[in-house]
């Protein structure tokens, strides 16, 4: 079951404040893209939501349960990192099977789930391959299959296609969009590529430069024409970059 996510006044300091204060809510089944200039703490925010890092301030609630702190929440979170993070000594099937183990799925059921997810990710026939034997795009597909295998309440993706070439990127964006449509999962997707966010997200959240706050929240419902939206967001990012670095010298 998809659940709602609530980020309440979350802030993070690493010696200097990186995230000032960010609050937003994600409805079940929403596909939210987190945008912002480089170094504004997008990845940090995603890691806080995923419980991989504690926030300095504020809190994150997933289906009403606090994410950080001692007690572990009962919701399932799948994460697709910038790198595939597959275990190189396991086959693609074994990599997916591994994350099913803690859920108590065993034997034939586990294998069937792994194979189904790999097939959905377009990896049928490659189940017995080791990661080193397939392409970077296929490895990232396997990482997505792994994240989906646990039937996550929330799927976090951290610039998952950053390492892929333009063609594969486009294909993978379409795949993720299709998977989202078919499964209805709640997705939080970090990217610095505006066209990517506009192509796949239902809601776009633009963060400001460091220390970051939310600069704008935009419903990507097709009411604004795509090209205009991309132009607006680009202008926003340039504006933020200038604010952070000072205006570019005009020579």
């Amino acid at each position: 079951m998809a659940v709602t996510l609530e980020v309440a006044e979350v802030g993070k300091d690493f010696l200097i404040p990186v995230i000032d204060s960010v609050s937003f809510g994600v409805e079940a089944g929403e596909f939210v893209c987190l945008l912002g200039p480089n170094g504004c703490g997008k990845t940090t925010l995603l890691r806080i939501v995923g419980g991989l890092e504690p926030p300095t301030r504020g809190r994150v609630l997933l289906g009403g349960e606090p994410v950080s702190g001692s007690g572990r929440h009962t919701k399932k979170v799948g994460v697709v990192f910038q790198e595939d993070r597959l275990l190189p000594w396991k086959t693609l099937r074994e990599n997916v099977e591994l994350v099913l183990e803690p859920l108590g799925v065993t034997g034939a059921a586990r294998r069937a789930t792994a194979d189904r997810q790999l097939r959905l990710a377009g990896l049928a026939g490659f189940e017995d391959y080791h990661p080193a034997r397939v392409s970077g795009g296929m490895r990232q597909r396997a990482a997505i299959a792994r994240a989906l295998a646990i039937e996550p309440d929330l799927l976090l993706m951290d610039e998952p296609f950053g390492a892929l070439d333009a063609q594969n990127r486009r294909i993978m964006q379409a795949e993720v969009r299709r998977i989202w449509r078919e499964t209805g999962r709640t997705i939080l997707f970090v990217t610095h590529a505006i066209d990517e966010a506009v192509a796949i997200g239902t809601t776009l959240i633009m963060l400001s430069a460091r220390p970051s706050r939310i600069r704008a929240t935009i419903a990507n419902d097709g009411r604004v024409e795509r090209g205009t939206l991309i132009d607006d967001l680009n202008a926003m990012i340039m504006d933020e970059v200038e604010r952070q670095q000072g205006p570019a010298s005009t020579s």
Partner: protein, 250 residues
């Protein structure tokens, strides 16, 4: 055709032939006590194989290595496990290993003779103390080099400590263990033989020293040859096979 040439390593064989020729000349010049001829060495080798003496001493040495070096591997594994479980333990182990690493073989030989007298335990203990830091440092380094990002992935998917250990830590430290064991075994053979000079009446080290005492220099060469053969045999039969198996997924 090319494959055959590669296998034969003709240049190496050529150089070896030159060395053997020089060896023959030098042994004529200086006599069999200083440098026995290749033929005498070959004859001595055939002799110990025929009488079975080769097995008595080789197995005696290997037996001691098995206990001393095997013990070192076991303790190294425990050290590796401890350094995975606790950062504090890792620091302590690290410091102790650098002390052990900088201790001479001779220190352990002398101490083991004082402690264990003239017995099997002297070479065993020496082998243990010398190979332990080699295997353990490799293993601890392996544990330190486990990819944090993979462990974090394990946390995301809520793998238990045991699952993370078997699925992530063990496979990523295995190459370090193999490398450490390979170097350690070579060292064990070299060290235990030295320790066998003192106080035992079997083993390659003992028989080499004995051959020297009875002026049978050709036998010193024969047993050196046996050592080299044991070394190369374990390298190709055991370690290369293991490495090949480990590399399957690369």
């Amino acid at each position: 055709m090319i494959d055959w040439k590669q296998k034969l390593r003709l240049p190496t064989l050529g150089v070896a032939a030159v060395i053997v020729a020089g060896w023959v000349l030098l042994s004529w010049r200086y006599g069999a006590y200083v440098l026995p001829s290749p033929l005498a060495v070959a004859r001595g080798f055939v002799d110990i194989v025929a009488t079975g003496e080769i097995w008595r001493h080789t197995l005696a040495s290997l037996g001691r290595i098995l206990v001393g070096f095997g013990g070192a591997v076991v303790v190294a594994l425990l050290a590796g496990l401890a350094s995975f479980l606790s950062r504090t333990a890792r620091g302590v182990i690290h410091d102790f290993l650098s002390v052990l690493n900088s201790t001479s073989v001779f220190v352990w030989i002398v101490i083991s003779i004082i402690w264990f007298g003239l017995s099997n335990w002297a070479p065993i203990f020496t082998t243990f103390m010398i190979t332990l830091p080699v295997v353990a440092s490799n293993l601890v380094e392996g544990v330190e080099n486990v990819d944090r990002r993979l462990l974090e992935m394990g946390d995301v998917y809520r793998l238990s400590g045991r699952q993370k250990f078997t699925a992530i830590v063990v496979p990523s430290t295995l190459p370090y263990l193999v490398a450490g064991t390979k170097v350690g075994f070579g060292l064990a053979l070299k060290v235990s033989v030295v320790a066998e000079i003192f106080g035992v009446t079997s083993g390659i080290g003992y028989i080499m020293n004995y051959s020297r005492e009875i002026l049978a220099t050709q036998m010193v060469f024969v047993w050196a040859l046996v050592m080299i053969l044991v070394m190369t045999a374990t390298d190709t039969l055991v370690f290369n096979a293991i490495s090949r198996r480990l590399d399957r997924w690369r």
